[in-house]
Amino acid sequence: MKKSVFLGALTVASLVAGAAAAATLDDVKARGKLNCGTNTGLVGFAAPDANGEWFGFDVGVCRAVAAAVLGDPSAIEFVPTTGKTRFTALASGEIDVLARNTTWTFSRDVDLKFTFVGVNYYDGQGFMVPKALGVTSAKELDGATVCIQAGTTTELNLADFFRVNNISYEPVPIETNAEAQQQYLAGACDVYTTDASGLAATRATFEDPTAHVVLPEIISKEPLGPLVRHGDDDWADIVRWTLNALIAAEELGITSANVDELAANPTNNPEINRMLGTEGNLGEMLGLPADWAVKAIKAGGNYGELFEKYIGENTPIGLARGLNAQWTDGGLMYVPPFR
């Protein structure tokens, strides 16, 4: 029995380790599908609709990558991951790219051996409480029961915040956003804490969103972005520059509506021409067709379009651009030049 257990362990282990350091681009092309790790369901960021089609801000990034690499934004296998399963899924090769509101941190980048390709949402951790509690500041939460997704940076921030402020709390670890919602609405926890964007998205699904408030304290920096495995820089470049293309497209005024026209009739702006493949050979350098960026932008629109469509102020989630505006509008979205 001992032996078989040990063998089993090694089999699992070798499966985990087996998929490392292969050329991801070739794998994806051979498979004809991009395996994209997403949230198990967070409205606005990644959630399936009634037909099982995935939609959302994070999903948009995956669709753009699939369009750039395979020419088809629907050639995706979505793998829903929880806060705890996501890294194992990526490290084991089960998914090619993880786009799941994941915070870029030192240890995840360096120690966990992942490569964050950029930031698609600058966020921070907030607290949501029922209005009826009459709480106005997170520092009044002494002794409160707090629902928290296990295995996230928010869990560590929470521990630090309460320890530094010398107040106590009762953590209730939960796996998914849906579970948190159930416990929070039933009153099994007083507070739900996660990234402020996630709180807004969750609150939008409540029957009466106005009965809940997000407290003013933002206790951390949470730069959220897609990530890939360490060791395959070519693949990381593809995902990084697809994301950059979406952000640059907004800056340059390329939208899903006018991208075909701009690609057909080269403009006076050489950067647009280089990005859309009518000048130079950026696509070839990435190992992709010349019109990779055209397809990526057509998949769901540029960064601004994705934002407005899924989480912007006209959606139930109602997030303002804030830090996520273009640098020209006073935000942090600033991509290196396409040159």
Binding site: K2, V5, F6, L7, A9, L10, T11, V12, A13, S14, V16, A17, G18, A20, A21, G83, K84, F87, T88, A91, S107, R108, D111, L112, K113, L133, L141, D142, G143, A144, T145, A150, G151, E155, L156, L158, A159, D160, F162, R163, Y169, E170, P171, V172, P173, I174, E175, E179, Q182, Q183, A186, G187, A188, C189, D190, R229, H230, G231
Partner: protein, 418 residues
């Protein structure tokens, strides 16, 4: 068939390894062993190489690093500044807690149901059949989630207890509060306590608990001596002295005296701030997991008990009755000792199952060792292989310990053949 007069000289040819039945089995075993070792070596090598290629060689150093996360249910001191090792131990103790509670409740419920299923009362027997079939034919994970959902959705939140005309009220003279965050029950406190004793500088064990446990063990030992004395008198004279009050006395009186000396009193939970404070807080994750595991396993234990009792032929009961033994003594002296022989071995595997099933705690956020070491620690450190190997080792050791203890008990009750 000819008889060879001379024993053949030891002329060993290589082909004999296959064609000679004396060597063949050995050859096959050696080849199989080599193949197995090769495969194991290949797996280990493959793992090590791939991990090295990934830049993550096997390293258990993370155990001493700061964990950084909080755990709600902790039987020993723990804070987010403690190490991952300590977080794992906290998780291990939580696993053991739910396993011990689960095995105890599953045995009690299982034996009751098993005996009642043999009842001559048609309704009782059928109800028990329904219980067994429902519980053992639905996956335990669903039961756990189901119990959790019941607790969360049906019980009132703590703030329902607030105000002049609260929607909910505490039970048993304001001593027990059932909320959708868990149950608050009174806790034992001591006004003249003895303090704690530190073991290896790592754990604090309350001296009061140790003293009470020592008294209890001593009491049971003394009760055993009294019973043996009664046996001797019965063998010598044929008359069994009535000893139950003596035996009860030596168990209960010293404990009561000790509790009085320590200034025992109960601390009641009271609503303060967001939650109840004081008392023992049993989180609903613990309760849901405990009840679901117990009731699920109890269904299997009921069947084991039923089979054990049915395995004893009716003649035994009738023979004992013919000797003039009273019915309850027939059960304890004739039926049960024989039934236990049939019951114990499968019961061991039910205990093992319950312990291993407790790793489903993750479904309700109960922080057992799968939740700490195999969950958050693994996630924060990214040491998947190391954590899973340690986790497997821990469950293996727990299971083997349960097996050893139960086998020892089995050897005590099994048929002694003379």
């Amino acid at each position: 068939m000819t008889t060879v007069s001379d024993a053949p000289k030891a002329t060993f040819r290589l082909s004999m390894l296959i064609y000679d039945t004396r060597y063949r089995s050995m050859t096959i075993q050696v080849v199989a062993l080599f193949a197995f070792m090769l495969m194991a070596a290949w797996l280990i090598n493959n793992t090590a190489q791939n991990l090295a290629a990934l830049g993550k060689p096997i390293d258990f150093g993370f155990f001493t690093e700061r964990a950084g996360y909080d755990i709600n249910q902790r039987l020993i001191d723990y804070s987010s500044n403690s190490s991952h090792l300590r977080a794992s131990v906290v998780g291990l103790l939580n696993t053991l807690l739910v396993a011990v509670l689960g095995c105890a409740l599953a045995t009690v419920v299982g034996v009751t149901i098993g005996v009642l299923r043999l009842s001559k009362n048609w309704l009782v027997a059928r109800i028990m059949t329904v219980y067994v079939e429902t519980f053992r034919n639905v996956p335990v994970l669903l039961w756990i989630v189901f119990f959790m959902a019941i607790l969360i959705e049906n019980l009132p939140p703590p703030n329902a207890f607030r105000g002049a005309d609260p929607a909910a009220s505490m039970l048993f003279g304001d001593s027990v509060a059932l909320t959708n965050r868990g149950f608050y029950i009174p806790e034992p406190l001591f006004s003249r306590g003895l303090g704690d004793i530190s073991i290896f500088g790592a754990f604090n064990v309350s001296l009061e608990l140790l003293a009470v446990l020592a008294m209890l063990v001593g009491g049971f030992f003394a009760a055993g001596l009294i019973r043996k004395r009664a046996d001797r008198i019965q063998e010598a004279t044929g008359v069994r002295p009535t000893t139950w009050y003596l035996r009860l006395g030596v168990i209960v009186l010293p404990v009561v005296a000790l509790l009085y000396a320590l200034g025992f009193y109960l601390g009641y939970p009271a609503l303060k701030g967001f939650n109840f404070q004081g008392g023992i807080y049993m989180r609903n994750s613990l309760i849901a997991l405990w009840l679901a595991l117990s009731f699920y396993t109890a269904a299997f234990i009921a069947e084991i008990v039923r089979s054990g009792i049915l395995a004893i032929s009716k003649g035994q009961t009738e023979a004992a009755a013919a000797l003039g033994i009273r019915p309850n003594r027939i059960m304890s002296l004739v039926i049960l000792p024989q039934a236990l022989r049939v019951i114990i071995p499968p019961l061991i595997s039910q205990y093992l199952n319950l312990t291993k099933n407790s790793s489903l705690a993750i479904a309700v956020g109960y922080m057992d060792i799968t939740g700490t070491l195999g969950g958050i620690t693994m996630n924060q450190t990214g040491r998947e292989l190391e954590c899973v190997l340690m986790l497997m080792l821990v469950y293996l050791v727990i299971s083997l310990i349960i097996s050893v203890v139960m086998n020892w008990y089995n050897n005590r009750v099994k048929l002694v053949e003379r």
